[in-house]
Symmetry: C3
Subunit: 209 residues, 3 copies
C-alpha cells in the first residue's frame, strides 16, 4: 500500500528523521522520569511512550502497521536513551540543551509524519495533522502520565513550529517540489521558528474575551 | 465490509447526526480552551480532539478506517467551530446553552456510533457500548488534557442519557423496527432524559458502602 | 493470521488466563470507582476500561481484531464484576486481598499478552512489551481517569513483576520449552516476585542524581 516514490525517499532521508525524532523524544521522556525521581523501569516506560507514542497513534490512524511492532530499531533506541539518562550525571542534561535537541526532533518528526501519511494515501489536510500528531502525541502522553500540564497548553510556540514544518512539507510537495528538498526546507522552517521561540520567548496571544 | 442496508441509511440520516455531534463536541472543546485562556492553535487542537476523538476510538475498535482520515468534513467542521468560538464574544456561549446543544449531540452520537458498529458486524452488546464510546470519549480526552475532572465522574445523568439512546436504538432495530424510526425514537429518548437531568438536576445515586 | 500451535494452546490455557486477568482488573476498576463514591454506571465504565483496556491496546498494536468486539465474554465479565462490587459490602474487598488477586492477574496477563503477540508474528522484544502493555495499560487508564498517580509511577515492584513474567515466557518458548510449561513457570515467577514485593515491601531504587 506504500507509494513507490515514498519507498525511494524512505531509504534515504526518512529513516534518519525517524531515529532522530525518536531519540530526542525518548530522552525527554527519560528526563521527565528523572525529575520525578522514578526507577530504571519507569525511565524505560517513559522513554518508550514518549519516543514511539506519537508514531504509534499516527500509524493506527492512517491504517499502517505499527512500525515498532515489526522493526525493533525504534524501541531499542528508546531503551538505550533511558539507560543513557539513568547512568549519566543529571547536569549533562541541561533543560536548555534538551529544548534545542527537541526543537530539531519536532521539526523532523512533523515532516516524517506528514510524509508517511501521504505515502499511505491520506489527503493533504489530515496528512499535515498526522505530522503534528507524530511530533506532539508522545509528549502529551508523557505529560499526562507524569501529571504535569501538557505541552499543548503552553502558550510558547511549540505546536505552531511543528505545524509550520508539517504544513510546509505538504504544500511544497503538492506544489511539485522534490521530496528531499521539501523536507529540508520544511524542517529548517519549523526549527527556525522554534529557535526564535526559545531565544525571544515568542508565543501566541492568549484568548481574552 | 459495510452492510448494504446501512449504506442506504448512511446517505440519509447518519451524515446529519455525525456532523451535528462533531460540531457540538468541537464547540465544547473550544470552550474548554477558552476557559483556560489558551491560544488559537490549542483552540483548534481541543476542538479536533473533542470533535473527532470519540469517533476515532470507535473506528479503531470496530476495525473501520478512521473516518476523518479519508473525508475531511469532520476535521473541517472542528476547525470552523474553533474559529467561531475564538472570534465571537464569550457571552454568546453561555454554559447553559452549550449544555442543551451538547444534550442533542450526545443523543445523536450515541445512535450514530451504535449504528456504525452494527453496520460493521459488531454484536449488540459491544455495538451499544460503541455508541457510548463515540459520544463520551472525546469529552474524556478534553477533560484529561485540560486537567479537569472527567465527565464520566459527574453523578449527573450524562453517560446514562447516552446509554439510553444507544441501547434503545440497538434494541429497537434488533426487534425489527425501521432504522430511521428507531434512530428518531432513540435520540428523542436520550435527549429527553438529558433534558430532565438539566432541568431537575436528576442524578444517579452514589456508592455509599 | 493466527499461528496453528497458538490455536491449540488457545483452546486450553489461554482463555482461563484471559478471563482471570480481565476479572481481576475489572474488580480493581470498580473499587477505584467505589473509592471515589461514584455511580453504578461509572462502576461499569471503570470496570470495563480497566478490564479490557490493556488487551484493547495490545490488539490494536499487534494488528489483531479487538477481542471484546467479537466475543462478549470479556465485557460481560467486567459488567458482572462491577455489579458484584456495587452490591456487596465494601469491607469484603480489603485492599490487601485485592492486591493478592491483582498479583495473580498481572502475572497471568503478562504471559497472555506476550503469547498472543507471538501468535500474530510479533518479534520477541515487542512481544514481551505487549505482555507488559496488556497487564498494565488498563490500570494506567483507571488511574488517569480517576485522577490518582499512575501505578507505573509507584516504586514498588509491580511493572517489574509483569516484565519478569512476560520476558521469561518469551525466553522459555524461544528456547524450545513447551508453551503450557513455559506459561506455568513464567506466571509463577512473576507472581512470586510480586508476592515478595507485597510481603517485604521490595522496591526498585529511585533515581538520585
Amino acid at each position: 500500500m506504500m507509494h513507490p516514490a515514498f519507498e525511494a525517499f524512505s531509504t534515504s532521508v526518512l529513516p534518519i528523521l525517524d531515529i532522530a525524532g525518536t531519540a530526542v523524544f525518548a530522552v525527554s521522556g527519560a528526563l521527565a522520569a528523572a525529575r520525578e525521581r522514578l526507577t530504571i523501569l519507569t525511565f524505560m516506560f517513559f522513554a518508550a511512550i514518549t519516543g514511539v507514542g506519537g508514531g504509534t497513534v499516527r500509524d493506527l490512524l492512517i491504517g499502517a502497521p505499527v512500525s515498532w511492532m515489526h522493526n525493533s530499531t525504534g524501541i531499542t533506541v528508546c531503551m538505550v536513551c533511558a539507560l543513557l539518562v539513568w547512568f549519566t550525571p543529571g547536569r549533562l542534561w541541561s533543560e536548555r540543551a534538551v529544548d534545542w535537541f527537541d526543537g530539531m526532533g519536532i521539526a523532523a518528526y512533523g515532516v516524517y509524519g506528514a510524509a508517511k501519511a501521504i505515502a499511505y494515501g491520506i489527503p493533504p489536510v489530515p496528512a499535515a495533522l498526522m505530522g503534528i500528531v507524530s511530533a506532539c502525541m508522545g509528549g502529551i502522553f508523557r505529560d499526562v502520565l507524569a501529571g504535569v500540564p501538557s505541552i499543548i497548553i503552553r502558550p510558547e510556540l511549540y505546536v505552531t513550529a511543528v505545524a509550520l514544518s508539517s504544513c510546509s512539507y505538504v504544500l511544497l510537495t503538492k506544489a511539485g517540489c522534490d521530496t528531499t528538498l521539501a523536507a529540508a526546507i520544511a524542517i529548517f522552517a519549523g526549527f527556525a521558528l522554534r529557535a526564535l521561540a526559545l531565544l525571544k520567548g515568542l508565543s501566541l496571544p492568549h484568548y481574552r474575551k
